[in-house]
Symmetry: C2
Subunit: 706 residues, 2 copies
Amino acid sequence: MNVSKAVLSLVAALLACASAAPQDQPVPAPPAPQFDLLPVPATLSPAQGKFMIDAGFRAACIGYSEPRLDRALKRFLLRLQERTGIPLTVGPSTTTGRAQLEIRCHGAGERVQSVSADETYTLVVTPDRILLDARAPLGILRGLETLLQLTDLDRGSFHFPAVSIEDRPRFPWRGLMIDVARHWQPVEVIRRNLDAMAAVKMNVLHWHLSEDQGFRIESRKFPRLHGEGSDGLYYTQEQIREVVAHARERGIRVVPEFDMPGHTTAWFVGHPELASAPGPYAVERGWGVFDPCMDPTREEVYAFLDAFLGEIVPLFPDAYWHVGGDEVNGRQWNASARISAFKKRRALKDNEDLQAYFNTRLVSLLTKHGKKAVGWDEILHPGLPKSAVIQSWRGQASLAQAAQQGYAGILSWGYYLDHLRPASFHYLVDPMGQRAAALSEKDRTRILGGEACMWGEYITYENIDSRIWPRAAAVAERLWSHETVRDVDDMYRRLDAVGRDLEALGLHHRSVYPQMMQRMTGTDVPEALKILGDIVEPVKQLARGRMRKYTSLTPMNRLVDAVAPESDRAREFTRRVDLALATAAGLAQQAADLRRWLTLWRDNHPALRLVLQDSFLLGELETLSENVSLLANVGIQALEYLESGRRPPETWSGEQAALLQRADRAQAELLIMIIPGVRKLIAAANQRPTPLSSPGENAASAAQRF
Amino acid sequence: MNVSKAVLSLVAALLACASAAPQDQPVPAPPAPQFDLLPVPATLSPAQGKFMIDAGFRAACIGYSEPRLDRALKRFLLRLQERTGIPLTVGPSTTTGRAQLEIRCHGAGERVQSVSADETYTLVVTPDRILLDARAPLGILRGLETLLQLTDLDRGSFHFPAVSIEDRPRFPWRGLMIDVARHWQPVEVIRRNLDAMAAVKMNVLHWHLSEDQGFRIESRKFPRLHGEGSDGLYYTQEQIREVVAHARERGIRVVPEFDMPGHTTAWFVGHPELASAPGPYAVERGWGVFDPCMDPTREEVYAFLDAFLGEIVPLFPDAYWHVGGDEVNGRQWNASARISAFKKRRALKDNEDLQAYFNTRLVSLLTKHGKKAVGWDEILHPGLPKSAVIQSWRGQASLAQAAQQGYAGILSWGYYLDHLRPASFHYLVDPMGQRAAALSEKDRTRILGGEACMWGEYITYENIDSRIWPRAAAVAERLWSHETVRDVDDMYRRLDAVGRDLEALGLHHRSVYPQMMQRMTGTDVPEALKILGDIVEPVKQLARGRMRKYTSLTPMNRLVDAVAPESDRAREFTRRVDLALATAAGLAQQAADLRRWLTLWRDNHPALRLVLQDSFLLGELETLSENVSLLANVGIQALEYLESGRRPPETWSGEQAALLQRADRAQAELLIMIIPGVRKLIAAANQRPTPLSSPGENAASAAQRF
C-alpha cells in the first residue's frame, strides 16, 4: 500500500550498483498503490484509511477458541512485534478494554486435518478495528498470515491499510516435498520450513524419509534400519511427533514417504533379507538410480512391512501415506531366477506387472493400517485402488490420464525446485494446464493441487532454504490464487517482499549467500566477489551431475552452492535492456544506467583476481570473471553503436558471436546471467540503423535453456 | 596465518566504498604472517607446515574422558564442518585407523567449577597430527576454541597452521553480566551468548535476574514474585537448569544476582509486605534509581528471603551468589518513623549502617545456604565477611581498597558495555591498573579479574548481541592474556575475525543492523542509508536517557538502535587521515582514497533524502545526513589545500569551525564519527605551509569525548 516502496526498491537497486554516483539516479514515476500479498487472495477491496499499530494493540479470540488458536495469536503478536519493533503485550493481557483485533472462529476444526478442510476466511480492516472471521481454525491461521503481510509503514506510522478480503484456496493440496535422505536435514530445518510454508499458505509437508542414501527415522522394532542405514543422522520418534505437532499448529498436514520397492538400499544395510539379491549392502554415497530393490515375491517382506507400518503409522496421523514407487530399474529382479519363476507362476508379464503386484500388496497393508496411498506416477496401473493419489513428476499428461481413470492427482512436474529454474517458470505451470484443460468438469475435481519438490543431491542443511525459497512461494500462489493471477512482474515484486519476510521469520535463504562467500575468502565478503556472484546462477536441471563426480561426502562449499538459484540483478538488467530496445525514448532513458552497470562488471575482474588467487575455493572462477568482463565490455560497445546510430563492422559482429559462444558455457558449474541481455544489445546493434521495433534476437542461450 | 588476509580485508574495505572504480585500488604490501587468535595465548611458537583438513578428519579422546568432553568434541567437529563446508564424521566413527586430533585429558575436573579451576592446556599442531593436552576438562574446552580459531584457508586447502601453544589465563574470573530485567531476554539469547563467551574463553555468566522493572525467575514457593512482577516474561526453573547446564558444558560458571535491598520494586508488586513503605506497587517502566527498598528492620523479610533462597539456591550450583547492594537512595527508610526508631535502637548512625546491617543478615542467610556473597562496591563496609567478593563499578580505587582490606574483588568499572564506548577503551582498562598497581604482592592476588556489564535500559532481545559483541571480546582478552598484550591495532584486526566467527556461531550482532534498517524502510536496505549508518554511532554513556523520555515500552526500532556501537569505517577513515598527515608521502598515498570516501559521503544526501521522507522512523535523520554531506565537502576542500600547499583564507577557516561545532552535536541520538578525521584535515590545512610533522590538532569532539 506504501506507494513509495517500489520507488525505494528501484532506488536501492540503482544505488547498490553505482553507489559512487547516487545523485544522478533517475526517479521513476510512482506506480499505483499495491498490496504485497502473496498468494493473492480470492477477492480484495481496498478501503479508505489505515489502522495504526502501536504499543496499545490488543487482540482477542471472541468466538470459538482452542489452545491452537491462542498459540497462533501469540505467534502473530510476536511476529508483528518483530516486524515493527514495537513492544506488544503478548501474554495474558493485564489491560482492560476491548481488543482492536477480533478473531471470530465459528467452531472446531477436524481432529486430523483432511484434504478437504475448510480454509476460508474473511478479513476486514478499518481504521479503528480489525475483524478476522472463519468457520474453522484453519481459516483463522490463513487470515493471520494475510494480516501480517498487510503490515506497512509510511511517513506516519506502522499500520494495516483498510481493506476487505474474502479468501479461500483454489486447490486443497498445496505441498512441499523435502528429501532429507540424500543429504541430512536437521529437525530445525524442517521446523523453519514449516513456518515458511504456513506464511505462504501451503498445507502439506511431504517428507521423503528413506532412500538409497539414508533411512532417516528411528524404528524401535527394527533398530538396524536407522542404526545401520543413517550414519547416525535420523529423527527420533519424539522429534517426528514434534514436527507433526509443529505442522498441525500451522495448519499443515504431514505425509511421510517411504519410497519402495526401489530407492531402498539404506533399508538393506541392516536388513539385506528384504532385498532381491543377497547382500551385504552399504549406505549409497552416489546419486542416481541404483539396482537394490525389495523382493516382491517373499512373504517375509510383507510381514516385515506390516510390522514396520504397525510401529510407524501411529506417528503420522494424516490419512495419506506415500509409497514412492518411482524408478525401479528391475535389474535385481531380472537377475534372480527365483523372481523370474515367480513372475511366470503368477502370469506377471513384466517388471511393471511385478511392481503392480507389490503395490497391491502394499496398499492392502496400508488399508489395514488405516492409510490411503500416494505414489509417484509409476504406480498407476490397472487394479490400483481408486483411493490412491497419483503424484505426477514425469509430465502433466499422467495427471490428466489418472484423473480420467478416476484417480485423484497432484502435480509435481514443473515444480522441481532442485532444477533451479526461475520462479517465473514454476509460476506459469498450472495443474489444470495442458491435457488437464480438456478434462470433463467431474474429472477436473480429481486434480487436488500440487507439490513443489526439493530433492537432496545438491543441497546441504546450510543452503537448502535458498534452494526452496522464495521460489516455492510462486508455486504456493499458483495453487492458492485464482488461475488468472499470472502477472510475472507483479509476482516478482511480491516475491521480493516475501523473501524479506521469510528471512525475518528465521529462514536462511538470503543470509547463507554472504556467509558462504565469507567462508570462501576467510575475510569479510569482498565486494568484487559479490558483484560476480550477483549475476551468475548454478547450472540447471541435471547438468551439475554431469560436470563432476558428486557423492554425499562432497563438500558443498563453492560459489555454485552459495549463489541464489535465480539472479535478481541479471533479471533486472535484461528487463532494462528490453526497455532500452523497445523505443528510442527507452534507449535514452536506460542508457546511462545500463552503461554504469556494464562498466561495473567490466572493471570488476582485476580486483576480483586478487581475491581469487588466495583461496582454493575461488581459483576456478577466473575464467568466469574474465568472461563477465569481456561481455560487459562488448555490451558497452553495443550500447555506443546503438546510441550513435552507427553500424558495427562485420568483424566486430563476428568476434562478438565467438565471445558469446565461448562465455555461454558453464564455468565452475555457473552460468553468466547477463548473457541474454548482452546478446540482445549486440543483435540490436547489428541491426541498426533499422527501426527499434523488436527487442532483438531471441536466440536461446545456456542461461535461457531451462 | 594467511598472509593475504589483511590484503583482502583492505581491498574489501576499499571496494565496499568505491565499487564503481575497483580497478585503481592500491595494493598494500602484504604484512608479516600473523594469527587471528583472541585472546592471545600465553606462549605461541609457529612451526613449519600445516595440517590439511579434509573429509577424512578424525578426532578422539585418548586420555580421561567424560560425556562433557565427548559432547564438546562433537560440537567442535560440527563447528569445524561449518567453518569449512567439509562434511565431517561427527557421530561414532565407523572408520578404523588412528585419529589425527588426539585429545589427552589427564583427569576429571571439579564437580562444581570453582574460581580456581585449572584451565591450562597445550596444543601442538604438526602437518600430520594435532595433540591437545590438559590436566582437566576445562583446559580441553579452552584448547578446542583455540584450535577452531586457527582454522585458515589459502590457495591450497583449509588447514591449521603448524604451531605450538601453551596457554593459561591471567585472571581466574572473566565474566559477562547480562541484565535481563530491564528488558526481557529470552532463553535463546542467553544460550547463544554463553556460546560466544566460551569462544573467547570467558568463564562467568553473571545473570542479573531481578530489578525494579522485572522479576525474571519462576518461584514455586512465591508464585506472585514472577506472576505479578514479570509481565509473564520470566525463566521457568527448568530453563534455569538448562542454562546452567549449557554453561557448564562450556566451562562457564553461572552467578545469579538478586539485587537487594534496592532495585526491588518488582518483588513488591506481589509482595508489598517486603517493602519499607506500604504498597500497592506496580512494575516500574522507567529507568533510574527508585525509592522502593526492602525493609531491613522486619524479621518477616529475612524469613521470606530464607525460604526464597531455600527454593532457588539449588538451581545454581556455583559457590557464589550476587546480592547486588547498589544504589539504595534511602528515601523509604528516611520516611518511616518505625525504621528511624529501629536505627536509633540499634545505634545505626545512617542508612549505610542500616544497609550494612541488612547485608550482614543476608550474608548469614547465604552462608546457611552454602553460598558466598558477591556484591557491588556499596556493600564494602566494616564487618562484611572476608569471604565476600567486591565488584567495583564506581571506579578502580574501590577494587584496590577492598584488596587492601582483605577482600577479593573483580573490576567492572571501565567495562560497561552499555556505555557504547569503543573496544579500545575497554581493552586498555586493566584490573591491575591505577591504584591496584601499587598493591602488595599478596593484595594483588585478591584481584580475581573482571566482568563486562550489559545493562538493559537501551537494549532489546533483537539488538543485545550487537551491544555485547564483539566489544566484550576485548575485555575477554584483557582478562586472559598477558598484561603486555596491548597493541590496539592488532586487537582490532583480531576482533574483526572474532566478529565474523561469532556471527557464524549463531550470534546476531552483525545481522541485526541490515535487518533493522530493512524494517525502517520496508524495502531492501537502500545503500544510501547504509552509507550513513556505517559512519555514525549512538550517543555514549548515559546521554541517551537525557535526550528523550524512555521507558521499557518505548520501541527500540530507530537507526540509533540498529547501528553498531563502534564505526569500523570511521575508525579506518581516521587512521588513514593520520597516515596522510604524518608525512608528505603519506598524503600522496592516501589522498585518492580519502577523496573517494569523502565524495561518497558528500554525495549521499540527495539519494538518502528520498529514502528518509517515506518512513516515520527515518525522518529524524535529515539534519544528520545533511551535516555529513557538508562535513565531507569541507574535508575535500581541506584535502585540496593540503595537496596544493595553499593556505585557506581566514573566512574559510572560520566557517568550518562553525560547521564543525554545529555538526558535532547528537542528532537523532547519533554522533557523526568522521568528525575527528575531518577536524584533523581542517586543522592541518590551516597550518599549511608549515611542515607536516604533526597529525593535526587533537581538539576533543563529541565523537571523541568518551
